[in-house]
């Protein structure tokens, strides 16, 4: 019984789909061309991620990344890369808002699967406060990259 409880709680976090992305990363390996490169670090544990991005016609065109980190930060980045590839900026903004809401929801927020796709698998991670930053690492990096591109094209 004890074993059951334990595996259930740990598997709430390590959903199959999370481990899938961890085992088979998407868009990993930095690529050309790109308009902006950002480097983000999880200051509490040292995980780091580099994201390259090019925006074209208002859509996330080229997104590649590399990094060192735990299964949560790495799989979250992969899932994000897959979900937003070629999507327009408004779609990314909506997804980011929904993912942030989910991760800060202490495990009681029901995520919108239409918006998040596979990323709803992170619902279980939201229960573990210390891992929320891991799941958000890639998202914050892409947000930063998008902001910088917008800034440079606006003026």
């Amino acid at each position: 019984m004890q074993g059951m409880v334990e595996m259930m709680s740990i598997e709430q976090m390590y959903q199959d789909i999370i481990l899938d992305y961890y085992a088979n990363p998407v868009a990993k390996g930095l690529r050309e061309p790109y308009q902006v490169e950002v480097h983000h670090v999880n200051t509490s544990c040292g995980d780091d991620i580099t994201v390259r991005l090019a925006v074209q016609g208002g859509a996330l065109k080229e997104l590649s990344w590399d990094g060192v980190g735990c299964s949560i930060s790495m799989s979250s980045m992969s899932m994000l890369a897959e979900a937003v590839a070629e999507k327009d900026l408004a779609t990314f903004d909506t997804a980011l808002a929904e993912f942030t809401r989910l991760m800060h929801g202490k495990g009681v927020v029901v995520p919108d699967e239409l918006i998040l796709g596979d990323a709803v698998a992170f619902a279980g991670v939201a229960k573990f406060a210390a891992r929320v930053k891991c799941a958000l690492l890639g998202w914050k990096a892409v947000e930063d990259a998008v902001t910088r591109i917008k800034g440079s094209t606006d003026d």
């Binding site: 409880v5 334990e6 740990i10 390590y14 088979n24 544990c45 040292g46 995980d47 735990c70 949560i72």
Partner: protein, 426 residues
Amino acid sequence: MDIEAIRADFPILKRRVHDLPLVYLDSAATSQKPQCVIQAEVDFYSHHNAAANRGAHVLAEEATEAHEGARAILADFVGAKPDEIIFTRSATDSINMVATAFANATMYAQQGLPVDARFVLNPGDSIVVTELEHHANLVPWQELCKKTGAQLRWVTVSRDGSLQIETLESLVDSRTKLVAWTHVSNLLGHQIDHRPFVAAAQRVGALTLLDACQSVPHMSVAVPELGVDFMVWSAHKMLGPTGLGFLWGTRQALAAMPVVETGGSMIAQVTMESSTYLEAPAKFEPGVPAMAQTVAAGVAARYLMTLGMAHVESHVRQLSAYAAARLGSIPGVTVLTSADGDPVSAVSFMVDGIHPHDVGQLLDSRGIAVRVGHHCAWPLIKALGVPATVRASFSVYSTHDEIDQLVDAVIACQSFFSRALSHRGA
């Protein structure tokens, strides 16, 4: 030491997490507290609470006596005199106080006011630290150098975790004003020989500061024998309360050091134009003190002294050796040690192919609390060429059985991830 009897003194060890008994292996981050320490705060608040060193009524006298009595116990604990012990917020605060004293002296000197030249920093002066410092004993010195134009230098760490101590000779020169280093590494766990640092500093007349956060809780430290000018540590890592740290200094160093924070209870006389100050320790302790915490810290020090620091040290060293040996014998697990010495009370390790964060999570699911990450020693992490580590750390209440549970959990973690990842073709 009768560990079962000791464990019975710590209420939190009865806790269950995820329906499993707590296995607390994170004592280097903060130690747990015995009932007598917890009760000391309760007793203070329930019977003697009043502003120490200020009032003339009975409660105030009792509070003063309890507070100053605690200072005497803490002094005794490190073989020092009571007036050499300054109560601070934390070890971090203690280090920053010394750094601020340097900044203050530098500013006074710029205004043409008299100060002890040893605390004055000019461009071209230097401060020497090591690459294995906790951020608390690194960043304040970086900031001080930024503010004064002085240069920060450091003894580097080799891949084998040893300090390139032979470089001290050239790093410490006649322009060096301070040498600061840690007594026991919070990441690799080994003790560092203080003698070369003290010798190098004394050769040039530089002040010295020892970060004893990870030594004083685990071994007998007779600070006057070390030859350093300042030593810092925290109450919360030595079975004591949170919110309290210590700065020890020689009488000469404390007399020469400019005031840092100012306010009530540290003044001799105050007019609107200027103020004069009392001598140490009052000189460095403005405001109503953390009385409940100082009293509880005294009880913690007594508890450790009653166990006997030699016994405490031998217990944690045995546990560390056992943990290093057992973890090291698991295929795919690497224990990070220093060629400079064996771990005192903390063991860092890596599990091949599994990020420390994931290891920590799996251990937690079995009720085992360890610390994962850079352990506030990021430069050391980079010098060792690892992204992060898992650290198991011990105290008087830790047991061999807990280490066995840790080992089993690490093996279970390996199989969880290898099962999870292998059929996914990673």
